[in-house]
């Protein structure tokens, strides 16, 4: 039986969307068979990424979907992209404690620790796309 196409898109503009996005992400993670701890990691990662969109960009979108690796492992992918100012120095924002908004500066480095794969693509004046993945064990 072929699994249904599982992709969910959530527009991100206000803080209310943060809660919607992480609920959607957690639901998909649960459906895919992730345990409670991984569900919490995935929901927290989505919360961090979407809050950054709300804080630093006019708006964006988050997409969560089921993925399968080349060697057949199943997982979840979260892509969070925005049309904000972009990030000038990616190494700098990945340091624990770096923040331009009196935050803790733990959102991005913490998300990287919570997930298995983490990638930032960004262009000044165009926007930022963060892609994270978690694999089922």
């Amino acid at each position: 039986m072929a699994p249904p196409a599982k992709e969910r898109r959530i527009p991100v503009k206000t803080e209310l969307d943060i809660v919607t996005a992480r609920v959607e992400g957690r639901n998909l993670a649960r459906e895919l068979g992730f345990g409670t701890i991984d569900q919490a990691r995935i929901a927290t990662a989505i919360s961090e990424l979407t809050r950054n969109v709300v804080l630093y960009a006019p708006e964006g979108e988050v997409r969560v979907r089921a993925i399968v690796s080349d060697d057949g492992r199943r997982g979840i992918e979260v892509v969070c992209e925005d049309n904000g100012p972009g990030i000038a120095d990616v190494d700098l924002v990945m340091q624990d404690g770096y923040s331009t908004s009196s935050g803790l500066g733990m959102g991005l480095p913490g998300t990287k620790r919570l997930m298995d794969e983490f990638k930032i693509e960004t262009e000044l004046g165009v926007g930022t796309r963060v892609t994270v993945r978690k694999w089922l064990r």
Partner: protein, 129 residues
């Protein structure tokens, strides 16, 4: 925007607030302000923040919780966090925002017991020397 208020109960000399819904940022900030106001009004000796129903604590909520504990501490109120779910505790550590210096207890009952002990040590009249 309509903000959901979280009820803050008073039991003896303690305040108890239990977060039962997913809090968006503005509701969380409102909650912090409400709490600090109630602490000021009631001169409560202790505050229990029950997170049993909270399934995500991200860096924003972690900072807010730390702020509440610190500000309450400045007003002489001891804070105990109860009901932190194991998966929430794990994500907090991995995020790097564990609630340092905040006392935690397994559940409400143990939280009240912990408060009694801590507040009791400081003397019934609340002086800490």
């Amino acid at each position: 925007m309509e903000v959901t208020r979280i009820p803050i109960l008073q039991i003896e000399n303690y305040l108890v607030a239990s977060i039962q819904t997913a809090l968006h940022d503005r509701a969380a900030t409102q909650f912090r302000d409400d709490l600090l106001e109630r602490i000021y009004e009631t001169k409560a000796q202790g505050l229990i923040l029950d997170l049993t129903a909270v399934d995500v604590v991200d860096s924003f909520l972690a900072r807010l919780t730390g702020d509440i504990a610190e500000m309450a501490g400045l007003m002489g109120t001891t804070v105990v966090i109860t009901g932190l779910q194991p998966e929430v505790a794990i994500t907090l550590v991995e995020l790097g925002v564990e609630l340092k210096g905040v006392t935690t207890a397994l559940n409400l009952e143990k939280g009240i017991a912990a408060l009694r002990k801590m507040v009791g040590k400081e003397g019934a009249n609340g002086t800490t020397g």
